[in-house]
Symmetry: C2
């Protein structure tokens, strides 16, 4: 029996109503219907209410022998305050493919952080007639994955400080006695996770009673250097007052104070692990080898050294299953993982993409979103995500708007609260032409991976025919396979049918192999320099701190990892105000950090905030419930 | 059609295997079968995987006209390190009622905190052959309620500090302009939550443009006194280094540092709100009126003043639905809310009990657990929970063990890691007799509410006939309706059949009305003194701080709330080492705080920790996943 069709035609209104009103006006299908449209039976997923289900990883194992569909990645030009509509285009394209072009399609999206939902940005479910629904469930707890990350991250943090505290007050013998207490028969036993530490130390004994005093000391004393700790606590709230704090000031902590801070939960390395892992067993290994700092003698200390690899995996065991939702037009969506693209690798999960590619099968489409521009999300998509997943995209979509291109062409500054400048509201071909240098570099950078590029111009009513033609020509000149005008915000999937057709053609004619920007076996600096060159930089400048850290990570054996640049998304360079396609600058590397569990080295290009703040009037003022309908109000 | 029977007979082994092994050996029924046994159809609940479902509050509305079942509360004697098995008895009693006595029964339990699960205590799903399953899901994220509380609590905390920050740097006019910005047409609008603040201020205008400069100042400037802030951040992790911290040390926070700290999430007032609320609309009101501190002029500042009542409700909208699970013998369990009993009111939710009473109907039983002894959980059950719910229990079960009574009778100290003293392992009738003073006071205190008391002696193999007889006689002499020996840990429901029969008789013969310990309309001190008297105290001593706070809360109009004593659970008095039934002591009140949203004043009797720590070898060392079966290992 063919799976039921779930595609649903929309009644669109003009002018386009508020996002939440559009979302609330559509009654979503029961998620089991969406699942059935992908040939999933109830044993393949766990329901979370009526409109969300977690698809179990076992689905991938079952389908391992079958062929994949086409793999499409959506990125954007360099973002501006005017917005490009990247998520909206991702959703609109899928609504076109699924509801109008009769293709099997799955949209793979990142789970948004709850912090910005209540802060400035609002939700992230797309917009207009291209949205994931129910948008309140998408933007709020979803199925608890980020909460699980918060819990796991903070359990590890608590374990670090408490371990230092206990080591400070106990002799080697007492410490060992507490770590491996004798049972009723006087017999000691190592927990499984302790055997990993013994192995790392080169101690091949499994009976605690056989350890020599020196081995006992090596095993029981992690001797963490408090100044070396890179592991911070996290919270999924925009709480700027936690950026820098002093902990341990209670009298019971005996003066063991330490300066540290909180990041927003999506910045946790555990989020990056979730996004990059390929199986439950692989996640167990990655979580266990996360490095939290060094011992006083300079050896990396891991979560497994602290005894936590198994417990963290248990906390994350449901989070590893992607969440199935639906678009306004009834096409399936997998929401999974949500690392930020400026401070992490900014892509949704490998496991969701892999499952989706099997579910759509040959001729079907998986459309996945990478954060921000080609310098940020797409570069990391190719060099980190595809390297770990071994998946190869057939097409990259780059989303642009006439307004944003005008800004890249030198258009006036946009200030929140002030009316938009005339330049953005009426025809100005010269500005658009000038701005196309930004788009062109995103195209050529992406083409360099050997992938076909389709430009999607997300159209506004004020865009003129001449302006749109300029973008089309510039795109083709820069090497794009095609450039298409879309109106999915106003019309849903119907407005992205041309884009869908172009993407299909691009996929069908893709023949080149995926070419990475750098091999893994060159040194850290060479890799950084390869990426910097792709930004347009003429060179790289390292701080003393960065030099030291590169040396340290190399000495610790981590130099063969890929690189994840932490850089502003607002420019190809490190200076957010440099629009267009800057070149000839020297990229400064302020510091270098490492996410060993996730599997990358991340150089910090300037200072990136890892904890947003709340404005004077946060979004939360408008968020409430209508008790008569039970609907959430005021989400945007 | 009669609902399907789900009761299932257990194959019990001797000696009793580890809790997790018993739990993993039973394949749970799909939760829809458990739901069907309560006449619930799929529209009444949301599935969360195969073994958990959230029962929607609308069920209560549907059944509002139908009659309630019997309402049984389970408490214990004063706890000792030897344990009493209160949760185990609660579950065992229900397995007896449901699987052996053919009664409709629902067990109402608190959700355990994840902190202790990975710390010292381990899980809280009962034990032996009386457990809630799957025990890993019970002890871990469950359906995300505690995570929702953490998120809501911390959003409010972030809003407090950020508001102070923004008020410090902006003029009244700028502040008002940001809070009520003009839209494109230049028109300003108050958010709904702002109208609440205007009403509180006695400003009956709804057009922002009509406010006078003085009204603008009153409206826009909360003028929070940083030293008065009682709202702390929370985390569901045992992180002792967060007990006392300094926040705001980042350069962007401009020197606005403040000393504060984190509590464990279950200590959040939002947890108490969840436990005591009666509907979504009631929860909205309670969340909005939570007081976070005072203005510099001494007025209480609420979550609604900060603009958050609606947003907090949205974060908590799914958490208000109780989670349906099952016991080892297939009887239904509602898990909902988990405030600690020493620092909060220590009872599961009103909404779960109310729904359960309708679901079991006349002749059925709802067994709900109150934390610790009659001084802690049961007193608060009667005077706070039943006062807000208007429900009346027909029977109170008090759980005791011979071992624990021996300790109350003067038995030797129990030290973790050292072998148990001989006194606890062989007959010692004199110690048991002496210890029964503790049990007797719990019985008489509970009888004072007009409720029938049944004592459940949770039997160990080492207990002698004479020892058990002593407890029976002492119980009856103290006014108990009955006293019964139980072996549900070893035998499941079958071991609690006598208890089930006694509880049924106690319920059927209950005739007295519920008598509260104090009326609400006396002053705060008189209420505190009534409770202290029930502890055996001869008087109460107030610190200067406590005197000031009582005066303040009285002036602020909060003196008619019930009292929730924050007191050690290890003694009737404030001194944990005073076992048995101490009397004649003077109860010291160190400080007085208030949970205005939850609806109680809480005096602090001594210093209670609101953030546990981790030991040198926390439970997490043993927690892992068996990748071949997917089962969680090492939970206890």
């Amino acid at each position: 029996m063919a799976p039921p069709k779930t595609a649903r035609k929309l009644q669109v209104l003009s002018p386009v109503p508020a996002d939440i009103d559009i979302a609330n006006a559509v009654e979503p299908l029961h998620i089991s219907e969406i699942a059935a449209s992908l040939d999933l039976s109830p044993s393949h997923y766990d329901l979370y209410g009526k409109y969300k289900a977690k698809v179990l990883l076992s689905v991938f194992d079952e389908l391992q022998g079958s062929a994949d569909g086409y793999y499409v990645v959506v990125g954007g030009i360099t973002p501006t305050p005017l917005g490009e509509g990247k998520s909206t285009t991702t959703v609109g394209l899928c609504q076109a493919l699924g509801a109008f072009l009769d293709k099997k399609v799955v949209t793979c999206l990142r789970q948004p952080s709850q912090g910005p939902t209540f802060g400035i940005k609002g939700g992230a479910a797309g917009g207009g007639y291209s949205q994931v629904i129910p948008m309140d469930e998408f933007n709020l707890h979803l199925t608890g994955d980020i909460h699980a990350i918060t819990a796991a991250n903070n359990l590890l943090a608590a374990a670090i400080d408490t371990r230092i505290f206990h080591e400070a007050s106990q002799s080697d013998k007492a410490l060992f006695n507490r770590l491996c207490p004798p049972n009723k028969e006087g017999k000691r036993r190592f927990a499984d996770v302790m055997l990993r530490r013994l192995q790392k130390l080169g101690i091949s004994k499994s009976d605690p009673d056989e350890l020599t005093p020196d081995e006992i000391k090596k095993f029981a004393r992690l001797d963490i250097d408090p100044d070396s700790i890179t592991w911070r606590r996290v919270m999924d709230v925009n709480d700027r007052f936690l950026r820098k704090i002093t902990i341990g000031q209670g009298p019971e902590e005996k003066g063991m104070t330490r300066e540290t801070g909180f990041d927003i939960s999506v910045a946790s390395e555990i989020m990056a692990v979730l996004a990059l892992t390929t199986s439950l067993a692989d996640m167990r290994e990655r979580l266990g080898r996360m490095v939290i700092g060094n011992s006083k003698s300079g050896e990396p200390i891991t979560a497994d050294d602290l005894g936590l690899g198994g417990a963290l995996t248990v906390l994350m065991k449901d989070a590893i299953n992607p969440t199935l939702m639906q678009t306004l037009e009834g096409t399936p969506v997998l929401v999974h993982a949500g690392p930020f693209a400026n401070i992490a690798h900014g892509n949704s999960s490998i496991v969701a993409d892999k499952i989706a590619l099997k579910l759509v099968g040959p001729g079907g489409f998986v459309v996945t979103e990478a954060g921000f521009g080609a310098d940020i999300g797409a570069e990391k998509f190719m060099n980190i995500k595809c390297r770990y997943s071994a998946l190869v995209p057939q097409c990259a979509v780059i989303v642009a708007t006439i307004r944003a291109l005008k800004m890249h062409g030198g258009g006036p500054e946009v200030v929140a609260g002030r009316p938009l400048d005339h330049a953005y509201l009426s025809e100005n071909v010269a500005l658009v032409e000038a701005g196309c240098v930004n788009l062109a570099r995103h195209i050529s950078n992406t083409r360099a991976y050997g992938v076909n590029v389709v430009v999607a111009v997300n159209m506004f009513a004020s865009d003129s025919e001449s302006e749109l033609n300029v973008v089309r020509s510039a795109s083709l000149a820069a090497g794009a396979f095609d450039a298409v005008i879309c109106t999915h915000h106003a019309h849903g999937g119907k407005g992205a049918v041309d884009l869908g057709i172009a993407v299909q053609k691009a996929c069908e004619s893709q023949t080149e192999p995926l070419r990475f920007l750098y091999p893994l076996d060159i040194c850290i600096k060479e890799k950084i320099e390869a990426i910097a060159k792709s930004y347009g930089a003429s060179g790289v400048e390292y701080s003393e701190q960065a030099e030291k850290k590169i040396e340290m990570y190399t000495r610790q054996g981590f130099s063969d990892l890929p690189i994840c640049m932490a850089k502003t998304q607002y420019s190809f360079s490190h200076v957010p105000s440099q629009k267009g396609a800057p070149s000839g600058f020297v990229l400064p590397i302020r510091d270098v950090r490492a996410s060993i569990g996730a599997g990358f080295i991340y150089p910090l290009v300037g200072t990136m905030s890892t904890m947003p703040g709340l404005p004077t009037r946060p979004c939360f003022f408008d968020i409430d419930i209508d008790f008569s309908t039970g609907k959430v109000l005021g989400l945007s």
